[in-house]
């Protein structure tokens, strides 16, 4: 820069508009990069291209109908989103969930965490430039788990299976064997991705030190989930405020130490292993039969007036449902605190100063789901 100025040459910063139609923006995210050569000097994120007004729509739907909207908000980890939502309704309506339903819910939610992280592995590696290999690895394994979801809930992505008070119907008879098989398969898939990426020098060179954020700043920005744990904070809502039956399982909380893209990747990879552990324990403990819905469940669920902020640890971070009821069978106000929306706020902080190519890596490492960012 200084050399050119001494010689009287002008340099020009150009604006590069990435998205809403760009292979690396994971949907319809748009960021305007101001670049000086290859270096990013400013970044303005634009969101809202996928805003469907799920919060407003939920105000007009009863508690059961709104479950479908939760699926479509967080479509890569729909079971986790549903779980958070139905727990919020249960807290407000004071419903007790039967044992078997709790286990089914936890197993499915944890498996959904694995599928979501598989999706991250694939998309993140593709952002860095792997020619679809990691992507197909991730998808291959994800398919096995989705097959299981389909056998249980009837759908591969938009399950609408959890209900306030339990689950819609019982799991099939061979559920336990299928889950065990899926767990074995998942370990193979994890080791494939591990071998392809974790020690690969090119991958490490691209992710080490990229998009690092300190733990103080991460808390200040309200980051959560693997992005926060990558900064070295051992924070997991499943441990901090155990919801559902997470206090019965033994699992580790992997943390990074630098808060960079590699640590985020690594934390997610470890988290998948921990999720497999949780699922395996849950299958062992799960009762073979039993009710799946509370006995006294009204046909049309009504909540007493009150409010609750229910939070759950989703693959992307803290998923919060702020539910206000004023009586009746519909929520008065439903606010979704979506983790990637909050994590995306720190994108500028993480990206500025890096190269254009790194902007894509940082965005990928946050692992956003646009359905959840825009809601």
């Amino acid at each position: 820069m200084t050399v050119e100025q001494e010689q009287g040459l002008e340099t020009l910063e150009i604006n590069v508009n990435m998205g809403p139609q760009h292979p690396a923006t994971h949907g319809v995210f748009r960021m305007v990069l101001t670049v000086d050569g290859e270096r990013v000097v400013d970044l303005v994120p634009h969101i809202g291209y996928l805003h469907r007004g799920a919060e407003k729509l939920s105000e007009n739907l009863d508690y059961r109908q709104a479950i479908g909207l939760q699926d479509r908000t967080e479509y890569l980890a729909a079971f986790n989103a549903e779980l958070c939502y139905v727990m919020a309704v249960e807290k407000l309506a004071g419903l007790e969930v039967p044992e078997r339903a709790q286990y089914i819910r936890v197993i499915l939610a944890e498996l959904n965490r694995i599928t979501s992280h598989y999706m991250f592995m694939g998309a993140f590696a593709t952002d860095i430039g792997v020619f679809g290999t990691a992507f197909t690895y991730g998808f291959r394994e994800r398919e096995y788990i989705q097959d299981l979801f389909e056998e249980v809930s009837g759908d591969r992505m938009m399950y609408a299976y959890f209900r306030p008070g339990g689950v819609a119907w019982d799991a099939p008879d061979n559920f336990k064997e299928r889950v065990r098989w899926v767990c074995r398969q998942t370990r193979v898939g994890i080791s494939d991705i591990d071998g392809l990426l974790t020690t690969n020098e090119v991958f490490v060179a691209r992710t080490r030190g990229i998009g690092a954020i300190s733990s103080q700043k991460a808390i200040d920005y309200g980051l959560s989930g693997p992005v926060l744990r990558a900064c070295g904070l051992k924070v997991d809502l499943r441990r901090e405020e155990p919801y559902s039956i997470y206090d019965r399982f033994d699992f580790d909380i992997p943390t990074g130490e630098r808060g960079d893209s590699f640590d985020r990747y690594w934390v997610r990879l470890e988290e998948m292993r921990q999720s497999v552990r949780i699922v395996e324990q849950a299958v062992e403990q799960m009762p073979d039969s039993g009710p799946i819905l509370p006995e006294k469940l009204p046909r049309r669920l009504r909540c007493p007036p009150g409010e609750v902020y229910m939070r759950a640890e989703n693959p992307r971070g803290e998923y919060g449902i702020y539910l206000v009821s004023k009586g009746g069978d519909k929520p008065y106000r439903l606010k979704v605190r979506s983790p990637s929306y909050c994590n995306l706020m720190a994108l500028k902080e993480m990206t500025v100063g890096h190269y254009v190519a790194d902007a894509v890596v940082v965005l990928g490492s946050i692992d956003i789901v646009l359905g959840e960012v825009d809601r």
């Binding site: 150009i14 604006n15 590069v16 760009h22 292979p23 690396a24 290859e38 590696a125 593709t126 952002d127 860095i128 430039g129 792997v130 020619f131 679809g132 290999t133 992507f135 197909t136 690895y137 291959r140 392809l196 990426l197 974790t198 020690t199 690969n200 020098e201 090119v202 991958f203 490490v204 060179a205 691209r206 080490r208 733990s215 103080q216 808390i219 070295g232 904070l233 051992k234 924070v235 580790d252 992997p254 943390t255 990074g256 130490e257 630098r258 640590d263 690594w266 934390v267 190269y355 254009v356 190519a357 790194d358 894509v360």
Partner: protein
């Protein structure tokens, strides 16, 4: 010589090579898709013809029929000529390659020099395309490709120079004959490594596909191109260059048509041998490109200037020492191999993985 006419002879030979290039591109696109498909546990193309063997023909038809778009703000002539400017050097490489001991379009006694010099000219086409497209992504891609292609030319030239010292000639036929017993890959593993990196960079394949960087600058210089122009600029140039450089690499590093069968066999054996070796090289590049992520532009340049270039100089120095003092051949392997191991260490050191340590329990810092 056909009919005693030099021009007619040259024309026929050029046609043969052009036909060969087209054939190779068609086969290569199919092979790449199949091969990468298998790596990803897919089947690859399966619909067009048995096992999808007609896929590349179907693609060609589609690309030719597709509308040839040009942005309204593009610089018309530069934009339209860029594909040609990129393709001609790629094709010109093939002209100087001896496919057997007696057949080539024109076997030059400066063949090595010519191939290296000409193959670098493709960059002109990319810069023209990037500039004329009037697109920021294309411009970024053009600048990247200029930086990358020209930089990688230098260590490759030096590595080949070291090789030419051992062979004692710049004539490709003589280089092949010089590898009578043992191909040069054994004596010059470092040189081969540098050549392979340079070849990946020259053909813009992963991990050096920075100019086209699908997920960052969406195709780089050829972002605005479509139809036949895109296929000339991108597919044709890239695959022709890849084929040309693979044959070149097979000639100078893998013993060409000579090793291990010797010169006495007929030309068809020689042709087969060189194609098998070139295919091996191509497969290796495809394999690598299906495995690796992409390097960043500064890492790419750092790799070239900080690792490959000093190593190439080191190689020349050692070779000179050995040749002047007439040390035995195995010292070539020793020095080059040691340098390769050192290179590997440098790469490892630059990206050293330290497994993230767990924060102490309850180690919450807020």
């Amino acid at each position: 010589m056909i009919g005693g006419n030099v021009w007619l002879d040259a024309f026929v030979r050029l046609l043969a090579v052009l036909g060969l290039a087209i054939l190779v591109v068609l086969i290569l696109t199919y092979v790449e898709r199949k091969f990468v498909g298998r790596i990803q546990m897919r089947l690859g193309p399966m619909r067009t013809g048995p096992y999808g063997i007609l896929q590349s023909i179907a693609d060609t038809v589609k690309l030719v029929v597709k509308e040839d778009l040009r942005p309204a703000s593009a610089d018309r002539w530069v934009y339209e000529l860029a594909p040609i400017a990129a393709f001609v050097p790629a094709f010109a490489v093939l002209v100087a390659l001896p496919f057997t001991d007696s057949w080539g379009v024109r076997v030059l006694n400066l063949g090595l020099f010519y191939v290296v010099a000409v193959s670098a000219l493709s960059v002109l086409g990319y810069i023209m395309a990037g500039w004329a497209s009037d697109n920021k992504y294309a411009l970024l891609g053009a600048m990247r490709s200029a930086a990358q292609l020209i930089s990688y030319e230098i260590p490759v030239v030096l590595a080949l120079l070291a090789l030419a010292m051992v062979a004692g000639s710049l004539d490709l036929v003589k280089i092949v004959e010089a590898q009578g017993r043992v191909p040069f890959i054994v004596w010059q593993p470092l040189g081969f490594f540098i050549f392979l990196a340079g070849m990946l960079a020259e053909t813009s394949r992963r991990p050096f596909d920075v100019p086209s960087a699908e997920s960052e600058i969406v195709g780089g210089p050829w972002i605005e191109y479509s139809g036949i122009r895109w296929s000339i600029l991108f597919a044709f140039t890239e695959y022709t260059t890849m084929f040309g450089l693979s044959v070149f690499g097979a000639l100078i590093f893998l013993g060409g048509w000579n090793w291990p069968l010797g010169l006495d066999l007929g030309w068809w054996w020689q042709l087969l041998l060189i194609f098998v070796k070139a295919t091996l090289l191509i497969m290796t590049t495809l394999w690598m490109s299906a495995t690796f992520p992409r390097l960043r532009i500064d890492q790419l340049m750092g790799f070239c200037w900080k690792i490959l270039l000093p190593m190439a100089f080191l190689q020349i120095f050692f070779n000179g020492l050995i040749l002047v003092y007439k040390w035995p051949d195995w010292t070539l392997l020793l020095t080059s191999g040691a340098a390769l191991v050192f290179t590997a260490f440098l790469i490892y050191d630059a990206t050293r993985v330290r497994a993230p340590v767990r924060a102490p329990a309850g180690g919450v810092t807020s």
